[in-house]
């Protein structure tokens, strides 16, 4: 498993813990165990689990297992660009999360910045991975 995958998968595991913890607090509060700032915790729960956990884990595993070599050349992609994609994704997750809990005038701007980082991460990652969507050497 290459280093970018290890970091992305470990980050995804941390987001799984954060997201499950937020979800458990929200569900327990629904059951009457304490009260929580729903407006704050609910968007964070969704962001951490959908983007931080599910999307990041998928990206990390894809970078690890997709075919790397074609008959003519190495298509594994620039590790620098993959690091950039994972960095932007994580900055985006935190900006989008902070945006959801920021005071009113800042809320929209911070969330938008976060989403732009996430979109950029997705574009860079897709660009790196595109040539790797191919038959493996064993199938050629």
């Amino acid at each position: 498993m290459p280093a970018p995958s290890r970091w992305a998968i470990r980050a995804a595991l941390v987001y799984l813990l954060l997201g499950f913890t937020a979800g458990a607090v929200l569900l327990a509060a629904k059951g009457g165990l304490g009260s929580v700032p729903w407006r704050v915790l609910h968007p964070l729960h969704i962001e951490w689990l959908l983007v931080g956990w599910t999307a990041q884990l998928t990206m990390g595993v894809a970078y690890w297992i997709f075919p790397r070599v074609s008959l003519r050349r190495d298509v594994s992609g620039s590790p620098r660009m993959v690091w950039l994609a994972f960095a932007m994704l994580n900055v985006g997750i935190w900006l989008a999360g902070i945006g959801a809990i920021a005071p009113r005038p800042l809320e929209g701007t911070v969330t938008l910045l976060g989403r732009l980082c996430e979109v950029s991460a997705a574009v860079v990652f897709a660009r790196v991975m595109w040539p790797r969507v191919r038959p493996g050497l064993a199938q050629m």
Partner: protein
């Protein structure tokens, strides 16, 4: 594919079907005049899909495919892995029953079931991360 993965994957398919049935029932509640508690199935449907289907499929496949922990115990101690499967599914099943019930007729029983569901799913997540963390390695 190890036996535990087969359980995870089969259960995840079951939750996919249940999630879509719950979602369809929610959509049919008003047009077909179904009972009021059916309208409260929205959050259940979402969590059946995201936790029961997606997360459980990931848990099972990662348990199978991630680099091996050691030659002697390739996937580590199987007991925590079985406990994770049991806790995740017990938590989800409790939620399926308790959440619509609590939405229409809240009581200390339904509230307690929701708290128990939250704790079971949280423990499953924590346990799974602790179990898988050492397997995120180069080879």
């Amino acid at each position: 594919m190890p036996p535990l993965t087969r359980w995870y994957v089969r259960l995840s398919f079951t939750y996919l079907v249940l999630a879509l049935v719950a979602s369809t029932a929610g959509a049919a509640q008003q047009p077909l005049g179904l009972p009021g508690w059916v309208a409260a199935l929205g959050p259940v449907a979402v969590h059946l899909f995201v936790v029961g289907w997606i997360t459980q499929m990931i848990f099972g496949v990662a348990y199978w495919m991630f680099p091996r922990r050691s030659a002697a115990m390739p996937r580590g101690d199987p007991a925590p892995a079985v406990a994770t499967l049991a806790l995740l599914n017990a938590g989800l099943l409790l939620r399926i029953v308790a959440e619509p019930w609590h939405a229409t007729r809240p009581s200390s029983l339904t509230g307690g079931m929701l708290v128990a569901s939250a704790m079971a799913q949280w423990l499953a997540g924590v346990w799974w991360v602790v179990m898988m963390w050492p397997r995120v390695k180069e080879r």
